[in-house]
C-alpha cells in the first residue's frame, strides 16, 4: 500500500513494503525504516526503531483521514491523501478564499455577543463575534472587508470547534 500523507506543511510519500505482525518495513519519501509498531492503548502506539523506544499518540479529528499526532514533545496535524481526498481537493481548489470569508472558532464554546447583523458592512479587523469558553472570552475579527451575508448562530448558542459562525462576502 502507498499513500501520501500531509504533515503540517509537508507532503510525504509513504509506502508499506512489508508487514509481519508488529514488524513493519516502510518508506517515507526516500528513507526506509524497519520498525516494531504496536498499538498498546486506545490511540497510543509504542514504536521501536533501532533499539530506541518511542510513544506516539493519535487523535482522530472527526474524520478517519485526519489526525492530531503527538510524539513526546511535539504535536502535528496529519491528513491521509488518497484518491478521494485528491478529488475533493481539486473540487475545492477554488474555495481557498471561502476560508477567509467564513469566521469560525477553533475551540468549542458559547456565543456571548454578535456585534454585527445581516447586511452589516465590516472592515478587516472588525470584531464580528465573541465566544466564551472556560471563563475566557475571545473576539473573532473579519479577515477581509465585506458584507455580513450569513450568521449561522445566535447569542447564547453553544458551538463546536471549527463550525462556521459568520460568513462575510
Amino acid at each position: 500500500m502507498a499513500l501520501e500523507i500531509k504533515l503540517d506543511d509537508r507532503v510525504a510519500k509513504v509506502e508499506l513494503l512489508a508487514e509481519d505482525g508488529n514488524h513493519v518495513k516502510i518508506i517515507v519519501d526516500d528513507r526506509e525504516y524497519d520498525l516494531d509498531m504496536q498499538q498498546v492503548e486506545n490511540g497510543v502506539y509504542s514504536v521501536m526503531y533501532k533499539g530506541r523506544s518511542f510513544n506516539v499518540e493519535l487523535i482522530e479529528k472527526g474524520n478517519p483521514k485526519k489526525y492530531t499526532v503527538n510524539t513526546f514533545y511535539h504535536s502535528y496535524d496529519a491528513e491521509i491523501i488518497d484518491a478521494e481526498t485528491k478529488y475533493l481537493q481539486t473540487r475545492n481548489a477554488g474555495n481557498l478564499e471561502a476560508a477567509e470569508s467564513t469566521i469560525s472558532s477553533p475551540m468549542p464554546g458559547k456565543v456571548v455577543k454578535i456585534p454585527v447583523e445581516l447586511g452589516s458592512e465590516v472592515k478587516k479587523g472588525d470584531t464580528v463575534i465573541i465566544i466564551s469558553a472556560m471563563k475566557m472570552e475571545s473576539e473573532y475579527k473579519a479577515m477581509k472587508d465585506g458584507v455580513v451575508k450569513e450568521i449561522f448562530v445566535k447569542e447564547d448558542d453553544t458551538i463546536d470547534g471549527n463550525q462556521p459562525l459568520v460568513f462575510i462576502d
Partner: protein, 507 residues
C-alpha cells in the same frame, strides 16, 4: 462548644471538590455533592456518598445558587458546607445564610469575609493592626485633582486598582505623569463594568515584586499560627502558574518577620479557619500586605507536603470548634515542594481554552509525586468552568531535585484529546531564571521568547508521526473490511465477536 460534623456538603466541583471529599472520607464524614446539568458524569458526583442536581450549566444558576444549595443541604441533612475555592467561597451572604440555617460554614464569619473582601477596608484594617502595606491611599480616588496630588506624593510608578477587584481587572500601572488621568479613567470604567463599582485606590508600584503568601490557621479560641510561605511569582495575566515552597527569596529571618506579620493580620480581624495572607516583597526584603484570601488556595498542597498537615482536616476541626492542635514552634518545612497547574489550553495559540473529550490519560507516579485532578478517560471537559484539569505537586529534599522530579513527572504526564499546558510547564522547569530561583512576577513576560520557542527537534520526529498515522489508517481500512464480513453473520454471533474485533483492532 464542639459540634461534631458528620456530613459535609461540598458546594463546588472539579479537583477541589474531590480533594475535600477525600479528607472527609478519611475522617469518617459523609460527603454530599451538588452538580449542574453538564456535571452529571463529573468525578465529584461519582466520588461522593450522595449527589444532588442543582440547576443548569451556568454557574449563576447552579454553583452560585445559594438558595438551591441550602435546600440540598437541608434535604440531605448535611451539618456543614465546604465551599472549596472560587464560586461561593468568599461570599459573605452565603456564610450568613448558613449561619441562619444552623449549618456550619467551613470558613470564616460573614463579617470577616466582608472586611477582607473590600480591599480598601482590608487595607485600613491592616494599617490599624500594624501590618505593613504598600504606600498609597486608603480611600476611593474620586476626582482628578485629588488623584494627581496623591499620586505625586507617593511618587511614580504607581498602581491604580479597583476596590472590588480581583483577577487583574480594573488595574492600571502608571509610570509617566501625563498618563495618570487616562489610566484613572480606564481603571474606573473597567471596574464599573466588571464589578458594578468604580471605586479605585492607588498604591506604590513595586518594580521587581515577588508574590509571596503565608498560610495561616486560626481557631475559634483566638489561636493563630502560620504554616510558612508559598512563592507564587510565576504568573501569567495575574493567574498563578507554578508555586513553590520554601521561596528562593526568603531567609529564615525574613520568614519569621513575614510570618509574624501574617499572624498579626489574621488576628486583626479575629480570623478563624484556614486563610492566606498575600504579600508583595521586593529584592531588598521589604514586604507589604496585598490581600487576604479567606478560603483554601488552589496551591495549598505544597504547604501540606512540606509541613505534613492536611489543611482540609484542619478546616473541619476548626469549624467544629476544636482548639488548634498545632503549636507554632512545632511547625517546620521538610524539603521542597513545587506545584504546576495543568490547564486545558493551547499554549501555542495564545493560551486559548481547549475543552473537549479526554481520550487517554497517563498519570505520573513514584516518589514525591502527587496529582490532584478530576478528569478521566471518556470524560468531556465542559466549556462552562475553569480550564484547570489538575495540579501536579512534587516534593524532594532539595529544590534542585524537586525541579528534576517535576520535569520527569511532566514528561510522564500524558493527557490526550485536549491541548494542555504541560509542554509550557516543562519549558518553565528548563528556564535558567527559574532554575536559579531568580525570578519575580515578571518572569513569564521576561522569558516569553524562551518559553514559547518552537523546538528545532520537531522535524526529527516528523517521519515517526507520518509512519504512525499511516499504519493506523492502514489498520482501519483492514478492520473496515473485517467489520463488513462480520455484519453479515447473525446478531447473536455479533455479540460474541464484537469484543474480539475491538481487541484485534487494538493490536
Amino acid at each position: 462548644m464542639i459540634t461534631k460534623i458528620s456530613k459535609v456538603l461540598v458546594a463546588n466541583r472539579g479537583e477541589i471538590a474531590l480533594r475535600v471529599m477525600r479528607s472527609c472520607r478519611e475522617l469518617g464524614i459523609k460527603s454530599v455533592a451538588v452538580y449542574s446539568d453538564v456535571d452529571r458524569t463529573s468525578m465529584h458526583v461519582r466520588y461522593a456518598d450522595q449527589a444532588f442536581h442543582i440547576g443548569p450549566a451556568a454557574s449563576a444558576e447552579s454553583y452560585l445558587n445559594i438558595e438551591k444549595i441550602i435546600e440540598v443541604a437541608k434535604k440531605s441533612k448535611a451539618d456543614a458546607i465546604h465551599p472549596g475555592y472560587g464560586f461561593l467561597s468568599e461570599n459573605a451572604e452565603f456564610s450568613k445564610r448558613c449561619q441562619q440555617e444552623g449549618i456550619i460554614f467551613i470558613g470564616p464569619t460573614p463579617e470577616v469575609i466582608s472586611t477582607m473582601g473590600d480591599k480598601i477596608t482590608a487595607r485600613q484594617t491592616m494599617i490599624d493592626g500594624g501590618v505593613p502595606v504598600v504606600p498609597g491611599t486608603k480611600e476611593n480616588l474620586d476626582d482628578d485633582e485629588t488623584a494627581l496630588k496623591v499620586i505625586r506624593k507617593i511618587g511614580l510608578p504607581v498602581m491604580i486598582k479597583a476596590s472590588a477587584g480581583g483577577g487583574g481587572k480594573g488595574m492600571r500601572m502608571v509610570d509617566k505623569e501625563e498618563n495618570i488621568l487616562s489610566a484613572l479613567r480606564a481603571a474606573k470604567s473597567e471596574a464599573r463594568s466588571a464589578f458594578g463599582d468604580d471605586s479605585v485606590y492607588v498604591e506604590k508600584y513595586i518594580s521587581s515584586p515577588h508574590h509571596i503568601e503565608f498560610q495561616i490557621l486560626g481557631d475559634q479560641h483566638g489561636n493563630v499560627i502560620h504554616l510558612c510561605e508559598r512563592e507564587c511569582s510565576v504568573q501569567r495575566r495575574h493567574q498563578k502558574v507554578v508555586e513553590e515552597t520554601p521561596s528562593p527569596l526568603l531567609t529564615p529571618e525574613l520568614r519569621e518577620k513575614m510570618g509574624e506579620a501574617a499572624v498579626a493580620a489574621a488576628k486583626a480581624v479575629n480570623y478563624y479557619g484556614a486563610g492566606t495572607i498575600e504579600f508583595l516583597a521586593d529584592n531588598d526584603h521589604n514586604f507589604y500586605f496585598l490581600e487576604m484570601n479567606t478560603r483554601l488556595q488552589v496551591e495549598h498542597p505544597i504547604t501540606e507536603r512540606t509541613t505534613g498537615y492536611d489543611l482540609v482536616k484542619q478546616q473541619i476541626l476548626i469549624a467544629e470548634g476544636q482548639k488548634l492542635n498545632i503549636k507554632q514552634e512545632e511547625v517546620f518545612q521538610f524539603g521542597h515542594a513545587i506545584e504546576c497547574r495543568i490547564y486545558a489550553e493551547d499554549t501555542d495559540n495564545n493560551f486559548m481554552p481547549s475543552p473537549g473529550l479526554i481520550t487517554h490519560i497517563t498519570e505520573p507516579m513514584g516518589l514525591g509525586v502527587r496529582t490532584d485532578g478530576y478528569v478521566y478517560e471518556g470524560y468531556e471537559i465542559p466549556i462552562h468552568y475553569d480550564p484547570m484539569i489538575s495540579k501536579l505537586i512534587i516534593w524532594a529534599r532539595t529544590r534542585e531535585e524537586a525541579i528534576e522530579r517535576m520535569r520527569r513527572a511532566l514528561y510522564e504526564y500524558k493527557i490526550t484529546g485536549v491541548k494542555t499546558s504541560i509542554k509550557f510547564l516543562e519549558r518553565i522547569m528548563d528556564c535558567r531564571d527559574f532554575r536559579d530561583g531568580n525570578y519575580d512576577t515578571h518572569f513569564i513576560q521576561n522569558n516569553e521568547e524562551f518559553l514559547l520557542a518552537n523546538d528545532e527537534a520537531k522535524q526529527q520526529f516528523e517521519d515517526l508521526a507520518i509512519v504512525t498515522a499511516f499504519l493506523d489508517y492502514h489498520h482501519k481500512l483492514k478492520n473496515a473490511q473485517v467489520s463488513q464480513e462480520i455484519s453479515k453473520s447473525s446478531r447473536w454471533k455479533d455479540f460474541g465477536r464484537r469484543r474480539g474485533v475491538y481487541r484485534a483492532s487494538e493490536n
